[in-house]
């Protein structure tokens, strides 16, 4: 019996070693896995552990402030409080959202929309729920921090453009850096950075932006700060002083409140831009917050595209303003004597085609000075014919037309100075002599920007130096000698003075005590077969109105160009602003040229 039992027992014991080996083998297998993870791949996991606990927190570098020529601050940095939610800390994210919406008095859907923006890069990082909280709201969220640990207030500085729409086109605004900019080699930007979009903010972005500092911190799994280690201080952005004169800018912007167009005021000796207004304008401060699609739609669908800088980016025919160029060319080329006269009876026939003067009754017998003063078309038809298109094009270019003027913020359209070569190249057709006649009074294919007209006028005023307009005071570039005859320029200047001071088309710009000169212009929107007064036409068919002018006292001079789209006559819609600007600038006792 005992053997029987023993046998049975031995059966079991015989099988034991197999089980033992199997168990130990499994332990060894597990140990091998640990060897693999800890020793073979240990460095990799050590790095992941360090990534887990170490955070490089950026120290925000304040962006440089921008001042006008008199040191008035145009923009400042203001804190903006954003509400963030850490979803890993929220028991019920719907409940948290309801609470936030209730506290902020904003619709839940708005917060939900922000929350749903995907952030695959950092699923554990707090997500933006609401922007731009008031201080009272911030205090409220701080007070409930214990019950709602999932909420965090994130402080970020945003730009506040003190004058809003008034300086919108000059200053531009900031926007989040785009993927393409980040991808560029040597990109100075980091993801999430705000960079200048348009205007001065864009052109001088590297000057204005500082360099963010960095604080290396140890955090726990909830992102709570445990210890600080390395630190690199932030380098603040530099201040930027503009040539802009805020008061002139404000006056011009106010004038354009109900108009479409642009105004440029230049110092004709330095090229400093004192005013640069484009209307309609927009409020750049809306870009400080995230634009919702509705706001964006409103902005881009607004009539007349407020985002467009009309002073640089829209080109128009110069109209009679171009007679300045034709007159200077005629005198310099000696194809005309100042005393020579032409008889104007309201119309004439050249190349078998009828060309009309704007004045139906005609001007009678006019010399150069009178032709400029009265803006007689007939006189300039003949002068243009004598000069020919090549010389007209040459002088246009010497005045800076047909090419960007070189304004530091960039974005300029070159406009168009037509000549036979252009005609063949671009139109595939020869240049017709009749077109030269149209160009002579600033019509035809000729296209200019208001900024180009301002540099043109500066060249007339300063005796032939083509200045490079600029908005930054540190960016002054030397003027280019246009090679124009100073005597011819002086004679044209005198005629322009007569336009204003001898009760002609520029009379509205007259300021007692100042020497003021100028030239009105009309850019036709539709070709008119007969004489029709522009103000009898519907708005969109009315002519554009130009007024290019200068003013001087015994020490200083200034150029002002005003362009009003569909403004009809420059004499009544454009010239009054020039007068207003001169009155402000030349105010007795205040030296506005000094900065």
């Amino acid at each position: 019996m005992a053997t029987h039992v023993r046998e049975h027992r031995d059966n079991l014991v015989q099988r034991l070693p197999v089980l033992q080996v199997a168990l130990v083998a499994m332990l060894v297998l597990v140990g091998g896995s640990y060897w693999f993870v800890q020793v073979v791949h240990g460095d990799y996991y050590r790095t992941l552990a360090e990534d887990n606990r170490l955070r490089n927190l950026p120290i925000e570098a304040p962006r440089g402030l921008i001042h006008d020529r008199h040191g008035r601050r145009l923009v400042e940095n203001v804190p903006s409080y954003n509400l963030m939610i850490d979803l890993t800390r929220a028991d019920d994210s719907d409940e948290s959202l309801r609470f936030a919406a209730g506290t902020l008095g904003r619709p839940e859907a708005e917060l939900q929309a922000l929350l749903e923006r995907p952030n695959r890069a950092a699923p554990f990082k707090p997500v933006l729920v609401a922007e731009d909280l008031s201080l009272a709201q911030v205090a409220h969220f701080n007070a409930v921090a214990l019950e709602h640990p999932e909420f965090e207030i994130d402080v970020r500085h945003v730009r506040l453009y003190r004058n809003g729409p008034i300086t919108a086109h000059v200053l531009g605004y900031l926007g989040e850096v785009a993927e393409a900019e980040l991808a560029a080699p040597d990109s100075p930007y980091a993801a999430g950075d705000l960079v200048g979009r348009r205007g001065v903010e864009r052109r001088y972005d590297l000057h204005l932006r500082g360099e963010n500092g960095e604080q290396v911190v140890t955090v726990d799994s909830r992102g709570r700060l445990r210890a600080k280690s390395g630190r690199r201080a932030a380098r603040p952005g530099r201040r930027l002083d503009l040539t802009l004169d805020l008061e002139l800018q404000q006056a011009a912007a106010m004038y354009f409140e109900d108009k479409v167009g642009s105004a440029v005021v230049l110092d004709p000796d330095s090229g400093e831009v004192l005013t640069l207004v484009s209307a309609p304008y927009y409020d750049p401060n809306i870009f400080a917050r995230r634009l919702d699609s509705e706001q964006w739609r409103q902005l881009i669908e607004a009539p007349n595209d407020p985002l467009q800088n009309r002073a640089l980016q829209n080109t128009y025919p110069p109209g009679s303003v171009f007679k300045i160029v034709v007159a200077v060319a005629g005198l310099s080329e000696r194809v005309v004597q100042p005393s020579e006269t032409v008889f104007c009876n309201g119309a004439t026939k050249i190349y078998n085609r009828r060309f009309r003067c704007w004045r139906r009754a005609g001007h009678g017998r006019v010399n150069l000075r009178e032709a400029i003063k009265e803006s007689c078309d007939i006189y300039f038809y003949f002068l243009g014919q004598k000069l020919g298109i090549e010389r007209l094009a040459d002088y246009s270019r010497r005045f800076g037309l047909g090419a960007p003027s070189g304004l530091d913020v960039g974005g300029e359209k070159p406009g168009l100075v037509p000549d036979p070569e252009w005609s063949l190249r671009e139109r595939g057709d020869r240049w017709y002599p009749g077109e030269t006649i149209s160009v002579a009074i600033g019509q035809g294919p000729l296209l200019v920007t208001s900024l180009q007209v301002a540099t043109l006028m500066a060249t007339v005023v300063n005796g032939g130096q083509r200045v490079v307009p600029h908005l930054s005071r540190e960016q002054a570039l030397p003027a280019v000698d246009s090679g124009l005859d100073p005597d011819a320029l002086a004679q044209v200047r005198e005629a322009l003075r007569a336009v204003v001071e001898e009760r002609a088309t520029g009379a509205a710009a007259r300021v007692p005590g100042l020497t003021v000169g100028g030239k009105t212009g009309t850019a036709q929107v539709i070709r008119q077969k007969t004489w029709v007064d522009s103000k009898d036409l519907p708005y969109e068919k009315r002519d554009h109105a130009w007024f290019a002018s200068f003013a001087a006292d015994d020490r200083r001079r200034l150029v002002a160009v005003v362009f009003v789209e569909h403004g009809g006559k420059g004499s009544t819609t454009a010239a009054p602003l020039a007068k207003l600007l001169y009155e402000i600038y030349f105010q007795p006792g205040i030296d506005r040229s000094a900065a």
Binding site: M1, L12, R15, L16, L19, Q38, G42, R46, R53, S221
Partner: protein, 379 residues
Amino acid sequence: MRSISSPASIVALPEDRPALRYLAKVRWLMLLVALALAGAGLATIHSASSELSVDYMPRQAVWVALGLIAFLVGFGVDYLRLAKFALPIYVAALGLLTLVLLFGQEVGGARSWLGFGSWRLQPSELAKVATVLLLARYLAASNRRVLELKEVGVAALIAGVPMLLVALSPDLGSAAMFAPMLLGMLLLTGVSRRLLVIGALTAALFAAGAWNLVLLDYQKDRVRTYLAPGSDPLGDGYQLRQSKIAVGSGQLAGRGYGQGTQSQLRFLPARHTDFIFAVLAEEWGFLGVSGILFLFGAYILNGARVATRARDRTGILLVVGLLSVFTAHVIYNTAMVVGLVPITGIPLPFLSYGGSFLLANFFATGLILGVDFRRYVNR
């Protein structure tokens, strides 16, 4: 030399207590190994508790002290006498499991605790021991070299009923531990090859059926996360990832006691319970890991030695059954921490914080050494 009182019965009934002099012959080394593991557990729990609301180390120390009492109980009771009551004990355990299903407290999604005031008990731990005991008694009675199909079926039923009850709670991890227990004991008793193949196929079918019928959504998620760790970065994927980072960053020598950033900065959840081994791996490195694995190996081999020199089938089967469950816990937990198998709530014996489980392991150690102590009685 004593003879068996009844040749028909394989369950030998001892009439004498073993002489106290045999105490010196007992494999005390096994208890020392258990205490060393528990000591390592206390130290690691203390480190893992640094960011928790309380330090769980003193509580666990109390459990270790109670565990020694449990050891003495297991050591003192005659396993053959105990085996006589295997069926009533088993039925009582099933009763407790049913009670838990009906009135239990829910902890971590599973209704597996019985509460008595501030005391909580996990009947599934008791059920494991009770099932091993009944299986040992039943299989010991078989007098064939290879088990009959009917015997295998009864054994499967004995293990299957408590397994099902635990699975319903639903604590699949604990339920799964009944499988290696049954497997280890069946293999030892002897199973025909044909039956092994059939068993393997049945298990595969059952696994497929379980996926559709038995597994709850959160359990399926765990398996999915295991198969594709990136799929759930905030849930189980997070746990798995943080655990692997903790283990890997320990490298060869560890980051030092109390210096593990994964555990000290709260990146690792469940760090004092199911994932205690990750804390140990992070702070003590591969050297610490191999040390602990070595101790586990020593425990198992010492237990196997006890089985080898036990004098009766019941003793052998009891020891092997207990060791099978123990080893399954060790292997599954350590494999889970390093990311080899899906996450499920299986604690690490002697190291994880938790009273019932620690008591059960000390009690089992007592039973095993009790078998060793009584090996001369049958001479």
